[in-house]
């Protein structure tokens, strides 16, 4: 309850954005699920950042002829009783006799990058298009939003597959396709927020004081449209990782020898019974990463929504 009382008091005293973020952060810290998501993410980020130090092998190194190890061999962990004379592979080896643990570690790097890049492209283009549409109105609004509607009219994933098929299968094209397809969501959210904020008094005031359209849009309106976008982007990272993994699973995304989780899962899917670790480990990693972003996104939404505060 204390926050609710504090909020208007602070608002009148200081410029609002820093304190809004501080309050949001404080609220976020109080949600266990969001914290859980955040801690998983931190671990993943650390793994990704220090991948070359953590991974015992190069992720693309084929060990045929270098070590006495067979393809698709089960995990061998010395601490758990695997004979010392056998080379240690924490998560076994894959079909091409590469160390799965090293590939998983480097895969974290790729997956996080994928999520960030896709959302960055989608959000930036979505924000630009959405704010132009919302602020300019008229035929520009109509043109942009009908284009977005056309993209939304197709089944999400089918359009992605079609795009990659035309562009040629590669990780970059897969990311581009996912970005293009998630763009309309951002554009729509930004447009609707811009539409409502545009009519607010403080915007009118800025305009009366002679601010240019650009200043009003980028300094007055957009900062206030950020909260829903942040939530959307956090959840969007999860979707982007999942969809890119799905495209890679189908052979349309990351190509060999890149250590991408979706590709690793897809290539070994027939081994679900004979070498389950090759299918389960990348699958679990994808699930955990997506779960972490979803939990964080949910938490952020609750934390950023002033209407939900009363229920807490």
């Amino acid at each position: 309850m204390a926050n609710v009382v504090e909020l208007p008091a602070e608002r009148t005293l200081q410029e609002e954005s820093p304190s809004l973020w501080r309050i949001t952060f404080r609220r976020l810290m109080r949600q266990r699920s969001a914290l859980f998501g955040l801690s998983i993410l931190s671990v993943l980020v650390i793994i990704a950042a220090f991948a070359p130090m953590i991974a015992p092998y190069d992720p693309t190194e084929v060990l045929i002829g270098k070590e006495d190890v067979k393809k698709r061999s089960a995990p061998c962990i010395h601490m758990l009783g695997c004979p010392e004379e056998q080379p240690q592979h924490l998560m076994g080896t894959d079909g091409n006799v590469r160390d799965v643990f090293s590939r998983i570690v480097f895969g974290a790097r790729i997956s996080l990058q994928i999520g960030m890049i896709v959302v960055f492209i989608a959000a930036t283009s979505g924000i630009v298009l959405g704010s132009i549409a919302g602020y300019a109105g008229g035929w520009i609004d109509n043109l942009i939003m009908r284009l977005m509607d056309i993209v939304l009219a197709f089944p999400f994933f089918l359009l992605a597959i079609a795009l990659v098929f035309v562009l040629g299968p590669s990780l970059n094209n897969a990311m581009l396709a996912i970005a293009v397809i998630s763009m309309p969501t951002y554009a729509r959210v930004v447009r609707s927020t811009v539409l409502s904020i545009r009519e607010m008094d403080y915007v009118e005031a800025s305009r009366a004081l002679g601010a240019t359209d650009r200043d009003i849009l980028f300094k007055r309106i957009l900062p206030n449209a950020m909260p829903p976008l942040i939530v959307l982007a956090t959840l969007g990272i999860a979707t982007a990782i999942l969809d890119t993994a799905a495209l890679s699973f189908l052979g349309l995304g990351a190509q060999e020898p890149m250590a991408e989780w979706g590709t690793m899962l897809g290539r070994e899917r027939n081994q679900i019974f004979s070498a389950p670790h090759l299918v389960l480990i990348p699958g679990i990693m994808i699930s955990i990463t997506v779960l972490a972003f979803n939990l964080l996104g949910d938490g952020l939404r609750d934390a950023l929504d002033p209407r939900l505060v009363h229920n807490k």
Binding site: N96, F273, P276
Partner: protein, 608 residues
Amino acid sequence: MKSKSKFLLLAAILILSVALVACSAETAQQVQEAAQEAAPTIQAAVEQVAPTVQAAVEEVAPTLEAAVEAVAPTAEAVATEAAAAVDAATGDFVPTSVAAENCDYGGKILSIEAVDELTVQFNLCKPDPAFLAKVAFTPFGIQPSEWIDANGGTGELLERPIGTGPYMIDSWVRGDSIIFKRFDGYWGEPAAAETAVLRWSAEGAARLLELQAGTVDMITNVSPDDIPAVEADPNLQLLTNVNPNIFYVGFNNTFAPFDNPDVRRAIAMGIDKQRIVDNFYPPGSEAAEYFTPCSIPSGCEGDPWYTFDPTAAKELLASAGFPDGFETTIYYRNVFRGYLPEPSLVAVELQTQLQENLGITANVEEMETGAFIDEATSGRLNGIHLLGWGADYPHVTNFLDFHFNANNPQFGAAHPEIYTPLEQAGQIASATEAAPLYAEANNAIRDLVPMIPIAHGASADAALASVAGAYVPPFGATQFYRLDPGKDTLIFMQNAEPISLFCADETDGESLRPCQQVVETLLDYKQDSGDTEPELATECVGNEDATVWTCTLRAGVLFHDGSKFDANDVIASWAAGIDASNPNHVGNTGSFDYFSYLWDGFMNAPSN
């Protein structure tokens, strides 16, 4: 509260799923251990029984053969007499024929004539040593002339072929299965199971799971990693497939840098075939020294392939102007074939070897299967392609002539050094006489490297142990009527759904299998070899220079629609495929690939 309960729920699900996985892994391991324990005992038992059974069979065989021989002429005579009587009564047999104007069209067949009701004569333009082997191939199956005419060579013919085989089509449920019913008027040994069902599943793991669950009786293509599990399972039998095949790495010499023969030679020396076979092929496979497998007569004439020598390869590549390698693409399709059981793994292995041994950076690109075959065989792939070939009929022409003839664009511009000796050898009936020419062709292939032969793959099908008579022939498909599942219905699972059932116009093994149950050819391959045996023809005899073949047809054979089989049905079936001017030359796609390829082109084709 909300997020807390959500979190708890998630945690519970996570724990449950982990527990589930752990449990199933444990049980699976237990089962496997038990099976492994049991395996030697079973094998010992089988080994003990085997000689006895064989001895018994050998004892019975001559007697049986004698009995059959004693009965056969009589039965045949009766049938012929009956047929003649019918003829005399109706007297309406008007012999037909299909013919080209002359031999200038370049094809092998001049004409096919119905001499009388039960005699068909093939007049060839040039001798064909593989004539009998080719005639036995499923695309040359015989259907009633009336049925072909009624459908204009397409339409219902694609869905419901009418043949003389032991099974007839009951229904084709698209996307699910094809159901066959036993044909009670079959001239030969009747099918064991009254109903046969053909199903399909692209995933090896899914097929094996169905077999283990007993929901299907036999499956094709066990994944190499699953072979030990099948061998160890007392409820299953592993059936090794000995169809001769070749897996090769193809180039196209119209694209740089593969237009330089030294680049191709360098790659040929720089690939460790044995390492590929050792790591990615099931036991029984071997590294290829020639394009044609050695089990095919005259297949392995000439010098064996280059030995693996990365240093020499690197030097050769450097002298060809690429000391630091170059960048290219490895194209492949991710489809299981006996010659390439692990396409994606082999693609990556090749990528690794090219990088390590030659400094060539190759990207791996998986393509959709139809697009891949089309692009590769029409010579439009600018990199390296991974493809293979399984024998259709046991003759060296099926390997060398198909791939290295003058008109095949797959490897770019064809080499006269290779196709000239092949063209000469293709007209010599005697294998020993043709051998030096095949040696010349093989040496030219080795020198010019249009492709690199990598491996002859072993593969295996599997059946329930309770299925009696389960087998995999080296040529053609398993005949369902020979399998006895011990119940009314036999369920067979293959890799993919057939494209159509008018097999004159199909090349895909998944389509030829159901066709072979329904439609019969003049001759058939034996169950355990590539030799032919009589089917709809009791014999086909050639003249001295193998240019005229006369086939005597079996009398008293009925089609599934009750009509009588005669020489005109043979003419109509062949004409639909081989004669481009025939109104029934329509089919599914109209390409009739095997007619044009095995007989060097269509008769009466419109000139462009």
